[in-house]
Symmetry: C2
Subunit: 254 residues, 2 copies
DNA sequence: CGTGAATTTGATTTAGCTCAAGCGGGGTGG
DNA sequence: CCACCCCGCTTGAGCTAAATCAAATTCACG
């Protein structure tokens, strides 16, 4: 089975066999994690990088009144995160939504691999740029779109992301292990607003969602109503993931 | 006069004299930019990096209906941006809010300097982590805080950022060249909601804002009501900006 | 089975939107 | 030099999407 991180990074850069081996050598022992378990909490000093192997995770911030804002979803292959170990303390927490598995990577080893394998470094860099682009698009969701449209947009995004790592295909249902309350914490809505928006999407024949399995019946229409433009995910390299400009690539290569 | 980018990066890492010279050598000829002028538009292929020398800039996305979401503010010393030249096309635009000046940096030269000056590279990396952290905090603003609190939070943030580059000091007014409509595009509010929230902040004796000059009369109270916690800006290195953990620093140093 | 969590539905309230009108000041052109 | 105009700010009066409150129903799991 192809390593989940290799698969993800191959979406961002062409990797050699030794690149692939280097990536695989990063991983330590895997650890299973219960649903809801924190990998790290806001304010803690991170000393290792987690790689999510199975299940979904999420970044979050807690408000003094107990409200929660979800800042990102992590799916298999995502690092949590490549670079935060540079900073003294986490400014947010990371937890699992569903039971899953992670492996830990030591910062030192990661830096070593990045030094020796520029293509890997570039792929990691790229991937963190995509994370930032997603954050910007979520800002648009919260700032400009109403409940119905922002939910539609989020579902489109998750479908594209899952497809990019081989966990979803056109026309088939895929796993979306989120409660309506968690969707609400993502979009700044109450659970009841999420419920009604979901009803409407179902009524419009756009999606089915039951038992945490989401089916998107009409991706084009769903994208159209929500203004979803997949370019921000930078996934257009050979139809999958975005390519580098040649000159920049060469420059990076030294 | 100390170079604006040097000053900013010194907030993130201790730099040697040669580091400082390398940074200054990056800059080409400066160009003045009119208020409202685009540096780059969404969808374009970036081929250079801009460094903002004077004035305020902002990142934005346009909606099909003409609505605008502001994604970030850029103040003197900010790069727009260090790394986006890796990606094929901009997924957002960058423009100036006020008349200003920029200089352009070639990607190749930047990569060369980063290779030769690891401390500079780390400072740039750090600074992009802070940008991401700001994005996360804005998400909390839009998702969880009401108009009054999110406006208060944003004003706190801008005060801290301006202070960190020496453009504001405690008790004194500083330049905030934003219209109420632009504040609205930032916080997902209409201009009239912004106006009323500003009135209330003024009425509470927290701020004065006239002629684009903002005075914060009671920073503690303003921070308290909005739940502002400056740690996400990672500015605590010797009271200014956050320090690296020793071991990580050494690891990065190779 | 039973219990707590997740979903659904309904009724009411409200923060912020929309629409609209007035005001002030700075820049432009006659 | 003045008149005009445009833009940003302010204020007022409804309106509406989503919040809040509440309860019923279904579901997952021990």
């Amino acid at each position: 089975l192809p390593h989940v991180l290799v698969r993800k990074l191959e979406g961002f850069a062409e990797l050699s066999e030794t690149d692939r081996q280097a990536i695989e050598s990063l991983c330590g022992k895997t650890r299973t994690v219960r649903a809801g378990e924190d990998l790290i909490r806001g304010g803690e000093r991170p000393d290792k990088v987690f790689l999510l192997l199975e299940g979904w995770g999420f970044r979050y911030k807690l408000m003094p009144d107990g409200q929660r804002q979800i800042l990102a979803y992590l799916i298999p292959g995502d690092l949590c995160d490549i670079h935060i170990f540079v900073l003294k303390r986490m400014d947010h927490g990371i937890a699992l939504l569903s039971p899953g598995a992670v492996t830990t990577i030591s910062p030192g080893k990661l830096i070593e691999v990045m030094d020796r394998h520029p293509r890997v470094q570039r792929a990691l860099w790229w991937s963190s740029l995509v994370d930032e682009a997603i954050l910007r698009e979520w800002l648009v969701n919260l700032g400009q779109r109403d409940a119905h449209d922002s939910l539609a947009h989020l579902l489109c995004e998750m479908w594209f992301r899952m497809r990019a790592v081989g966990l979803a295909e056109a026309g088939k249902p895929f796993s979306l292990p989120l409660t309506q309350a968690q969707l609400g914490d993502t979009l700044g809505l109450t659970p009841v607003a999420v419920n009604r928006a979901l009803q409407r999407l179902r009524g419009e024949g756009l999606i089915s969602l039951q038992d945490k399995q989401l089916t998107i019946h009409d991706p084009e229409r769903l994208a159209a109503i929500s203004g979803f433009e997949p370019n921000y995910l930078h996934l257009d390299r050979n139809g999958q993931s975005s390519g580098l400009e040649r000159q920049t690539l060469d420059a990076c290569e030294r």
